[in-house]
Symmetry: D3
């Protein structure tokens, strides 16, 4: 891990972040061709948590949260801290004091590959966090890592300034360079889904709405009446 | 996987389904000799979710929800969709549009070995779902599977028309052929538990309620006063 | 597993248990030098669950809850049942009838390495339970184990009479011999955190509050302005 | 679990078992339409292990190998013991003494969902075993299960007398009713693969051998020269 | 974690260690009443590895092997290094240079909860290692832990000077205080197994060798001829 | 997933690949500051497997190996196929026919996040493969993915033409842009390790070789003679 802190990376435009934040995580993933989703292991610490913001990626050493302290100095209002470790580590890297510091700076939430603690207090503060684990296990501050270098979670590369959107379905990353087109595509998808929703409510079948019957025939799907064994 | 759709399998009688739905999952599992439970990995997407219905088993290919579309056409009011995959796949096979279509047909819920998405919307609709994961990762519609052939979850074989009961403790399958006797046995067990509950409330011990003291003696359990190490 | 039941082990003093129960699990773990935490796999069955009590450690055979019946007879008001198995077993060892019996004896909750069931009823009773899994799978009563011999969970040794504190962050064990000093250290830590909380609220950085800048220099952390790739 | 032992179930014809044993596990799975494979968790205890035989399915209680003793009495030469548990249990259910007893009866090997032990001795005896774990942890003999009732492993139902074939790739189950047709299909597949092998050796591409180029076009796969980022 | 190094703990007598090393891990676990086994996750890095020695327990911080360096100074000929971490960490804590240093001091092997690397070289050196993972991921030397305080692996407490025996079946710990009686019990068990082996070879059944038929009757096991479904 | 095939990406110079291939995976990871290692889940299918080559990254859909066929056309002598999936999938994506085709083109091996099959044949061919699982489960050819777009494994980004080195310790990726400097650093590290090896052989301690005693003092490590408990 290079002990590097990149300062002042550009962020995605605030209005674009807000526009993307109008959509659900699943819609955004579909709008990006089924990419960008960070994986089912990242769960919100309370139901109904939501956020949209710009990524400040951090790499910590296992069991060591030193670089979160370093990262906080690099945050701006509207940012989201995105914490990973150089190898898997589910200790409680983050708690209520960090959230207090971040909230004071206008940071809108945390996405982390580590454990978090003080979840009762974080929930009361309504500081939204997505994490794979809750853990009270403490960490040290001894080894360097990086801030604002790209990180990957679940096979998705997250660059500083990319858009992070998170809800009950998990977390998605929209690259800064494609934020505009993804916002448009998400809007189109949502409109199409709204039309389909009406058809489904009226009792139409997906087989017809999506025109799947020819495919079934091509695949040789056989319909066969039930026979008593 | 045979690309087969079995049409019009018989369902367990509606009244029997309703009767079984009066019991908890744990009671039904005990009434079947500690069998029928699909495993601790299937969790409800919201606390307090409950369902009882008749199984429509589906086999999908990993990352591919085509056969859910096919299955919906085969559902009747009172059915439960039971989705498995030919190998493990936790992507988001199912979301709010599917639930809208199923609710329009009177289907009472979903049990799936895959991930689900749109959990906020599903919760708001009170469409009950049991699944091992929440995932926003999208799926394709390209490969055939089966509908209404038997499937297995957690070592339990589920035939079309079997009774599925689910609550906060998970999901149980009651075979159609044994639904009547299981209902009777569950009633007896519940009555017995009610009597025992009163004894426990009164401070009696399980050792006496269940007559376990002779067993302890046979097993050579030794009672020994505490000694300071 | 020795089939032994140790009777009447000493418990940590009630007032000390109450004092420790005032602190969160994370604070107590830190006060013990980042030890004593039983691990992130133990989750409360409902949010906001809390307990503090004295441990009654139990070892069961996999799929067999006989020794829980034995253990109940050994409990006193203020105790916490701490259940492990001789090898991993996530079946539903514990449910509402056991909780009824324990509540009748003044036992304040359960920490278990096994699955639990009847979680809806347990939640309604507000009987707090920490467990790695919810499972309706039933158990037998056939094989002996131990009560009030030391057990280990997550690498932590739990002796009978030790203090168990649990909240949304998980479970911590405070050894009886150190309960007094840990209580003092936790108080000091909490006071220090309160002071730091005010500084963070005022916008101070952890880098300064904890004096970390010289460490960063020693580690060779390099600050580098963002460059367009 | 029903405490039932089914006696004298029919076995697949010996010659058919031998014929199926000529094929690899992967070939047989393909010949059955990509079904019948018990999953990647079952590994041989030594490289190069191979077997083909008729299944004697057993259900044990976790941590309890009583029913293996019961099952041995039901075995005939050419059988394979197939052991599962009513819930997951990786203890060492099986070791060298059992293998000695089975070898004395002409049983050709073991497939188990549990752990095994004495692997050095089993390897020396060349008694082939497929298991998910090696464990020295001992078991008890206290709780009943079943022999020769159907079991499921990895979603595959195994009936008594079905054909089990296993090699370095894992384990496959060929249902007794389809053993003949599967043998024919496997032979055809192997012949076709032999022809394709020659084409691949000669440098032909799968895209041409399997005629995949039109599919790529239909899927909109775009070929694009590399550009320096 | 207390930053403590305990010097010169007593070791189990050399002759007793040698005597225990004559038995397999499974035999020793049985001789201790099915306790002492560290779990199926610890695997030898090459088949046929074996060791018997006295434990030098080490606690490291995740991703940090500093305390292994500290521990080496505390070793004597005949010792086994037993390495754990304060929370799970599978990085490559140990490689060929460490093995060179340990071999130079007469240390007979390593048991570790972490990853190891240079396995090709370790195998060539025939330096036996049991570990849950092979990993090339490097570690730092920054945070303190302990040497010769008790540790736990798989629920088993390991004190300095206890006997560690390991083979293809995994690792067992025999407490120093019980080494003599365990050695005797293991000898008795092995003798009994030798007698049973002859009976099994002669075709006797475990049902008779162990006298299990009355138990089956008590459990209500029903024998039922096969019926065509 | 974008259905894109990038053609003719530049490869790292052949001589540099050969030079890097002289070093072990652990040495290369250290030479890159403890980065580049793909994780402990990727294991060689036979002991002693080794490779060094240039990456051809592939993204497949779960349960679908279509894009491996597409990728083969893009390979050159000296390449390594690096296969990932858009979500986890451990089916048998790759077997002996693919290896035959790749060997015919001079491709030196495979690194894959999926399962592989025909491992006996692959071992006999000495075609080296690193994978997390062996699985006979077959796949389809129905859904598009990408070839020669960057992929990530274990948090490491792999670009087409990067150097892949693999041995018994796993797999490391050396970025094309840094191949030269990493080769130099690895040489220096190896030379230093050779010097240290001699010191360790002579009985020196790592505490002195690496000058760690002042650190122990700073960390407050306390040496304390053993006391009988």
């Amino acid at each position: 891990v290079k002990p590097v802190v990149v300062t002042d990376p550009p962020r995605t435009d605030e209005a674009l972040v807000a526009a993307l934040g109008e959509y659900g995580v699943a819609t955004l993933g579909e709008a990006m061709g089924r990419t960008g989703y960070l994986g089912p292991h990242l769960r919100p610490i309370y139901p109904g948590a939501r956020l949209a913001g710009t990524a400040v990626p951090v790499v910590c050493w296992p069991g060591d949260n030193l670089m979160i302290h370093v990262a906080i100095e690099q945050t701006r209002p509207g940012d989201v801290l995105v914490v990973t470790t150089s190898s898997p580590s589910r200790d409680g890297f983050f708690g209520e004091l960090f959230a207090t510091a971040l909230a004071a700076r206008g940071v809108v939430g945390l996405v982390t590959e580590t454990g978090v603690r003080d979840t009762a207090e974080l929930t009361e503060m309504r500081f939204p966090v997505w994490a794979p684990a809750v853990s009270a296990q403490g960490t040290v501050k001894a080894t360097a890592g990086s801030v604002n270098l790209p990180v990957t979670i679940g096979g998705v590369v997250i660059e500083p300034g990319d858009v992070i959107v998170a809800d009950d379905d998990g977390v998605v990353c929209v690259p800064r360079a494609h934020a505009g087109e993804v916002s448009v595509a998400a809007g189109e998808r949502e409109a199409k889904e709204a039309r389909n929703r009406e058809r489904f409510k009226a009792g139409e079948l997906g087989l017809d709405v999506y025109g799947l019957r020819p495919l079934l025939e091509r695949l040789g799907v056989e319909y066969r009446p039930y026979e008593t064994p």
